[in-house]
């Protein structure tokens, strides 16, 4: 099949041999999607366990620092896998994704979720051993938990919305 000459960087990515291989195959895209789902579900599930503990809704008998130590390596591993598969999915339809507002919202929320996590770890989390035995956590910790839950639910919503609206914008 012949492809038009790329007119911008996104089309160059899409019409690369890797992009074309993924787009033309009947099984590569769904397989990447499947791995992407398994990875993102692991990311969000493990993050939510810590978030729900931070906001005080679940596992109150467990120390949040230990819970985070248990879940974090798996969160990061799964995140790397989700980013890799997501990147490959992106390559196959790059120029459709970059003009899709839901895709842009999803990327924006991912950045916010990351900043929220970094901020928590640089501030309130540094003294976690002092407050994790208290009946109620500091406001900043609870807020970070709620924000994380909201951002990640948003990421899932916008991610799903992309699949329903990909042909809408051009």
């Amino acid at each position: 099949m012949m492809y038009p000459e790329p007119t911008n960087i996104w089309e160059s990515i899409e019409y690369s041999s890797l992009g074309i291989t993924i787009a033309e195959s009947g099984w590569i895209f769904p397989t990447l999607e499947t791995i992407h789902v398994i990875a993102l579900v692991t990311v969000i599930g493990t993050i939510a366990l810590v978030d729900l503990r931070l906001v005080g809704m679940a596992s109150k008998a467990h120390r949040v620092s230990l819970l985070a130590k248990d879940t974090l390596p798996w969160t990061w591993g799964a995140f790397a896998l989700a980013a890799l598969t997501g990147g490959l999915l992106f390559i196959s339809k790059a120029s459709s994704y970059v003009i899709n507002p839901y895709f842009l919202w999803k990327m924006g929320l991912l950045v916010l979720a990351g900043l929220n996590m970094v901020y928590l770890h640089l501030t309130t989390w540094r003294t976690v051993e002092h407050w994790e035995q208290d009946p109620s956590f500091p406001f900043a910790a609870k807020l970070a938990g709620w924000l994380s839950l909201i951002f990640w639910v948003g990421v899932v919503f916008f991610g799903r919305a992309i699949g329903f609206t990909l042909g809408f914008y051009y």
């Binding site: 789902v37 599930g45 366990l49 679940a58 130590k69 879940t71 799903r160």
Partner: protein
């Protein structure tokens, strides 16, 4: 494989499921879901978040059994995650029913949907009995991991569960790609 699934679809088309699917699509609820564009994506989001909770619960119990994560006793770990599992399963079933009502033909006349349903039933039974088998196992020091003796059977069940859960998620994604 493609032929097998195609024949499965042909067989599904000869069953009462066709009439059931058409009947569901005539209900006001189904009509309402179809005419509101964002309903299906939103129900799918609930479905994905519930699978995230249930998979995290299965994963954390499995890691605990292998001594790879978890600072609580097996008993405490099981109690903590069985609660998550039940909540997640309730939401999964509810959102799943919503998706069937919204798109009855896409789901009920779909071979991968039925393969997934069988896997789900096996997965739920195994997950709940696995969680139960961890009950009552308390080590001497509740915050030292690996204090208990975990049998090979329990470990094998744990690994089987994680694989099964991944297959269920794969089934969910491939419903959209079934050869119909």
């Amino acid at each position: 494989m493609g032929d097998l699934l195609y024949n499965f679809t042909e067989w599904l088309r000869s069953t009462f499921l066709v009439e059931l699917a058409l009947w569901i699509s005539d209900t006001p609820l189904s009509f309402w879901i179809v005419t509101n564009f964002w309903t299906i994506p939103i129900i799918q989001v609930v479905h994905i978040l519930s699978i995230a909770a249930s998979f995290a619960a299965v994963l954390m119990m499995t890691l605990r059994v292998y001594g790879l994560a978890g600072h609580a006793t097996l008993d405490e770990t099981s109690r903590r995650y069985t609660k998550v599992l039940w909540w997640a399963l309730a939401l999964l079933v509810l959102s799943g029913i919503g998706l069937i009502v919204g798109e009855p033909v896409r789901e009920l006349i779909n071979p991968i949907f039925w393969i997934k349903m069988v896997l789900v039933i096996v997965g739920v039974i195994v997950a709940l009995s696995f969680a139960r088998s961890m009950r009552g196992q308390i080590s001497h020091d509740s915050f030292v991991r690996g204090g208990e003796v975990v049998g090979g059977g329990t470990k094998a069940t744990a690994a089987f569960l994680v694989i099964l859960w991944c297959l269920i998620m794969a089934g969910g994604r491939w419903i959209a790609y079934a050869p119909v």
